[in-house]
Symmetry: C2
Subunit: 220 residues, 2 copies
């Protein structure tokens, strides 16, 4: 049996069959992301800003300059974070039934600043590992001043919901004979040819986690 | 000379050299998107939800079921919309100078419902064209009932800002001799092998606009 939504505001009301509330599903979608979008209120406006993110355990982490608006504001106010991966174009025989395959997570809560310098160093190294596995041991670690100038914030994944569509076309029965290609065009993020800095062309290329592909199921 | 920000809240304060306020730059980033994230307040919470989007002229369009929370709420309240494309991993010799290449747009304003059925049909056809050029003439158009059950909303692009990073590594001079590969791993979204519905395998495959690649400049 699927777990229930952790709160009324995470309950998927629109197409609830696409909702998932188990940690493994939520964590996998978060782990496939390098960036998230954060909604918050500041200065009388609602804002939606993108920023880099990574996961350690039950928390989503972000970072930024200690004096930036984003990190200052988020420590003191509720927010909502969205991660969305577009996995495919669902091309139906009718305009109305066109859709998209996707995996998304929405998280509610309040970021808490990570203040301890050693803990900051550990989670910042995890960020480098998230971007390029094995790399944190190869690069110059952050200095004390760099760590002090960087705000690191974490948000619990306790109040989160995932939504997934990963199947084919849902055309009406009476449209099935329309003579147009119908199906799914899968999309994925892939790495192109790495562009080295001067002096690096002969060095071993870095690891990364691309291409990233999504699971495709043949039925809802 | 670059145009100024259209409002105080669109002024890029963090790394202002990455800010762009001209329509062509903003429109190109919007046109490269199939989904956006929308921040809005409802029921005492701030929310961040993903939804499909497309552009016609000076407006961003979204759609949804007429009775959905998103479309009902957005017609009556201010929001912020974010589109972000991750274009590359910037791998530095120091952990601190790791970065990402990206193109993002943030839009502020209030969605307005498109009520006229003929106008709705026109902009919904533009949505199909955005996803698959040439397709709107091949599929069954939306029926009167389908159009009536679909809310279409538009948001002016007048109050918007773009932010772009599309260059190499900004390492400190004293780190340049660290013996680790440094450079950019470009990322792009590509289409995989199309998955036809039953009976469509022999038909002409649909058009789409993938791979999508970003411009890379060698200097800031």
């Amino acid at each position: 049996m699927k777990p229930d939504a952790p709160s009324p505001r995470t309950q998927i009301r629109r197409k609830p069959q696409r909702g998932h509330y188990d940690f493994a599903t939520i964590a996998a979608i978060v782990d496939a992301a390098q960036i998230c979008q954060i909604a918050f209120n500041e200065g009388g406006s609602v804002h939606c800003l993108p920023t880099a993110c990574w996961r350690v355990g039950n928390h989503l982490y972000i970072h930024g300059a200690s004096n930036s608006r984003l990190t200052r504001t988020l420590s003191g106010s509720d927010c909502s974070v969205c991660i969305a991966h577009l996995d495919g174009l669902v091309l139906a025989r009718s305009a109305f039934h066109h859709s998209m395959n996707f995996r998304s997570v929405v998280i509610y809560g309040r970021f808490i600043a990570v203040d301890d310098p050693e803990e900051k160093k550990t989670v910042l190294a995890a960020f480098v590992e998230h971007i390029s596995p094995g790399r944190s041991a190869l690069v110059r670690p952050a200095s004390t001043a760099e760590v002090a100038g960087t705000a690191v914030l974490r948000l619990s994944l306790d109040e989160a919901a995932a939504k997934i569509r990963n199947w084919g076309v849902d055309d009406d029965a009476e449209d099935l004979d329309i003579p147009v290609w119908a199906g799914v065009v899968p999309l994925q993020v892939v790495a192109g040819t790495a562009i080295p800095e001067a002096g690096c062309a002969e060095m071993a290329k870095p690891a990364h986690r691309f291409p990233q592909t999504a699971e495709y199921e043949s039925a809802p």
